[in-house]
């Protein structure tokens, strides 16, 4: 495990309480179904899923930092590694791999071969534009924003649309320095 993360994802996953992944999968399916029935527009559903994921990510990062006791990441590369190895493992029980770094080191791809959200799922023809796992992109975006990184997260490859893996592209837009709620000289 990288020296930055004292506890590996497996260890943490073994120590948290767990539930049956199928319950999780089916609950997520119920959520998506409700959204599609209510909103009807696939783009709206995508946006709503992203927003829900964002809300989750904002809170999830606190738990992540508390349980995993990783030290501060030096750069974006390390951040991406930690997300893929520790973060995904801790919550979803699967590891992602990080690839496709661009020249500046601000964009990378997280590859998921195994995704508990999409077991038993197939997209019907009416919903072809739907990013079924969009909640994940929201989670990553929300979590990173809470640690002062503004990112843009998009899906490159989607297994439900016929690709062979899930590929999530994470692009660092800018790093926002921490703002203190009070002025130092007051």
């Amino acid at each position: 495990m990288a020296p930055a993360a004292p506890k590996s994802g497996d260890v943490i996953f073994a120590s948290v309480d767990r539930v049956n992944a199928e319950l999780f999968t089916l609950t997520y399916g119920a959520i998506v179904r409700q959204l599609i029935t209510d909103l009807e527009e696939v783009e709206e559903v995508n946006k709503q899923l992203d927003q829900m994921g964002y809300n989750i990510g904002v809170r999830l990062v606190d738990e992540f930092l508390a349980k995993s006791s990783v030290s501060r990441c030096v750069d974006f590369r390390e951040t991406a590694d930690v997300i893929a190895k520790v973060g995904f493992k801790m919550f979803l029980g699967v590891t992602a791999s990080v690839t496709n770094w661009d020249a500046e080191g601000t964009t990378c791809s997280l590859i998921l071969e195994d995704n508990p959200l999409v077991d038993f799922v197939e997209l019907p023809d009416t919903c072809q534009g739907l990013h079924y796992c969009n909640i994940l992109s929201g989670v990553v975006r929300g979590a990173l924003e809470m640690v002062s990184m503004k990112t843009e997260v998009t899906w490159l490859r989607d297994m439900l649309r016929g690709d062979d893996v899930f590929e999530l592209q994470v692009k660092l837009l800018k790093q926002v320095p921490e703002e203190y709620p009070y002025k130092d000289d007051e």
């Binding site: 073994a14 539930v19 992944a21 199928e22 071969e113 508990p116």
Partner: protein, 184 residues
Amino acid sequence: MIGVGKAKQYANVLDRPIGKGKQEVTIDSTSELNKDLVQVSLSAFAFLFSELVQYNQIQVDNIAELERRLEDAGYAVGARVLELLCHREKGSRRETRLLGILSFIHSTVWKVLFGKVADSLEKGTEHEDEYMISEKELLVNRLYARFISIPKDMGAFNCGAFVAGIVRVRTALDKAFQIIFNLC
């Protein structure tokens, strides 16, 4: 499951093997079903469930409507769990009699979903057709105790409505089941 998708794409979704998941260390490894369980963390499920509740809260004006929506979501889950379990467990034979279904829910379904058998299955005394499945520590209400707090204006709200929906679907008979959830 997904591992299969990597190897080859099936022409028809119905041909895809359901699979039993990967070998994992589980909370309760005594049953045959649970030995191959894939799991996610409780907090992941908690977050997801909270989003479900929050989303529905915005859409409705009162508690009864919210409970009904949660129950509908649970209903969808229940229908699928039923099919899945019948296929895996019993070689695709479904219970059609009342007691059969209730004991199926009580043991198998509860075990797969929540990791343990429900606490008890009793016949209610007030009505002819009343049965009670009791559960001291409902998973959803365990979330309840840990992660959820109820604002004062929603005193009667019960997240168990979600589980009630899961149970509701098992009515293979004509009788309508009324599911009432009581917090122990």
